[in-house]
């Protein structure tokens, strides 16, 4: 199998990423008039930095409240162990019982939806949240499960084989030809 990279296109710049984080933070505050049960949980590893910035921004907007932050590692919950090797990232760090909380689950890219499915199962092992909302920087389509995001930085139509990378410095799509 030979893979050759054709192009890497910048879809969002660093400023666009920052603006998307600010906008999503406002949406979180608007959708949750009572922020006291809200906890923001990033998915290891790509969602963690976004969750951190969302939490900081939400706290700045809300002023009077400190929304807690967590991180969830889903490698033990995947349904595709036999299909690809698992690369362990960093452990789960959920500092409180999630029972009755509203979890804002954060990832960088929403693709097939399988990681989100695994994350929902992982969250349940830390209590039964009242609700889970999903925030992603990029929705690239190709869902294989009935999962949709509540907050989206940018919808990007892609080919299934494209590679999407997300960081504080921007969002890039690389077409991969097999």
């Amino acid at each position: 199998m030979s893979i050759s990279e054709v192009s890497g296109t910048e879809i969002l710049g660093a400023d666009d990423v920052s603006r998307a984080i600010t906008r999503i933070s406002h949406e979180i505050v608007e959708r949750n008039p009572d922020l006291s049960p809200v906890v923001i949980v990033g998915m290891q590893t790509g969602g963690v930095w976004i969750a951190q910035r969302l939490r900081d921004t939400v706290n700045r907007i809300a002023e009077s409240i400190e929304v807690p932050l967590g991180a969830v590692d889903i490698s033990m919950y995947r349904d595709d162990f036999s299909l690809r090797p698992v690369v362990l990232s960093a452990p789960t760090d959920i500092p409180l019982d999630l029972t009755g909380r509203t979890v804002v689950l954060v990832d960088d890219v929403l693709f097939t939806g399988r990681t989100v499915r695994a994350a929902l199962e992982a969250l349940n092992d830390h209590g039964r949240p009242r609700a889970v909302q999903l925030a992603v920087m990029v929705d690239r389509g190709h869902r294989e499960l009935p999962i949709r995001p509540d907050y989206v930085g940018k919808n990007i139509p892609t080919h299934f084989t494209d590679e999407v990378s997300v960081g504080p410095d921007g969002v890039f799509v690389t077409a991969v030809v097999q």
């Binding site: 590692d73 033990m76 362990l88």
Partner: protein, 316 residues
């Protein structure tokens, strides 16, 4: 890495990798619901031809926390008593559809031989005097996490005291401790040292008094009384005078130094002090860490997709 037969099978990177995975398992084991679906649908057989409490239960707990199914084979209640051979026993278990076998046997090399008889992943849980690799891993995990030095033991000194010659724990631990950079001292009477000890890369000392105040970790081996006869240790009291950890000696351990023992303890032999009276005792911590590390080993060998990738010829 398809099997885990010996500490020597593992590169330093693989050792560090397993210890990192064990951190994930440690987090799972602190939850109110300490169970994940990672090995759902896998069957793990524990095949023990020698008595064991902690190793067998530790592996079985680890397997269950990863949602694997567990079969337990006990030599004492098996068809071995009807004359079934080891090979037929292993092939029979294998034919039932077992993904991994955790094997303990009194003869060195049985786990390696078994790999010819089964496609299952073979994990050595102790073979004769040869190896006990998961003990070495869990002890390395205990020491590295105790001293907060994740992937290295450099600058640390560890004394292993007791019957080095007949100890598979010593062989696995010395290998792993040394390759992580620790300075290893062995303390034993000449009759309980292997003939080629010079080639092991360790320092040899003659009494526990020489090391007890100097080392960061004091690792007391179990005197395997069932394997002893009077030609090896003529007088147990003379042995104890030079090699046992007494309350007086424990009081001389450095501040921050830790005490370890693989269990089961012979109270009044290698440990004359009650370990609960030693502030640095990590003996029960080793047992807790054993579950974390064995979960990491099972997950690495069965759950991470590594074996499948190997079978596909390296494609991911």
């Amino acid at each position: 890495m398809k099997h885990l037969l010996s500490s020597h099978d593992l590169s330093v990177d693989e050792i560090v990798g397993i210890l990192d995975v064990a951190d994930h398992m440690a987090e799972i084991n602190t939850r109110s619901l300490p169970k994940v679906p990672a090995l759902r649908g896998k069957t793990i057989a524990s095949v023990f031809f020698e008595d064991s409490t902690r190793t067998r239960l530790s592996f079985e707990t680890a397997a269950k926390r990863l949602s694997a199914d567990v079969m337990t084979f006990m030599a004492s209640s098996s068809s071995l008593n009807k004359g079934e051979s080891l090979r037929d026993t292993i092939e029979t278990l294998s034919a039932m559809g077992v993904d991994a076998m955790v094997i303990r046997h009194k003869s060195s090399g049985v786990p390696l031989t078994m790999t010819q008889w089964t496609d299952a992943v073979v994990i050595n849980a102790g073979d004769g005097w040869h190896q006990h690799p998961t003990q070495g891993l869990l002890d390395a995990y205990t020491v590295t996490r105790e001293f907060g030095t994740k992937d290295s033991l450099s600058g640390r000194s560890i004394a292993i005291v007791g019957d080095i010659k007949h100890s598979r724990v010593a062989r696995s631990n010395i290998d792993i401790f040394r390759r992580l950079g620790a300075h290893v001292v062995v303390v034993a009477p000449p009759a309980l040292l292997p003939k080629n000890i010079e080639s092991w890369g360790v320092e040899v000392r003659n009494t526990i008094d020489d090391v007890v105040g100097e080392v960061d970790a004091l690792y007391m081996l179990r005197m395997q009384l069932e394997r002893m006869d009077s030609s090896i240790v003529p007088k147990l009291t003379e042995y104890c005078a030079l090699y046992s950890l007494t309350p007086e000696r424990a009081a001389r351990m450095g501040s921050g130094a830790i005490l370890m023992h693989p269990g089961p303890i012979n109270r009044g032999v290698e440990l004359i002090v009650d370990p609960t009276d030693v502030p640095g005792s990590r003996i029960l911590k080793q047992v807790t860490n054993g579950v974390n590390v064995r979960m990491a080993v099972l997950f690495t060998l069965l759950g991470s997709g590594a074996t499948t990738v190997l079978q596909q010829g390296g494609e991911s």
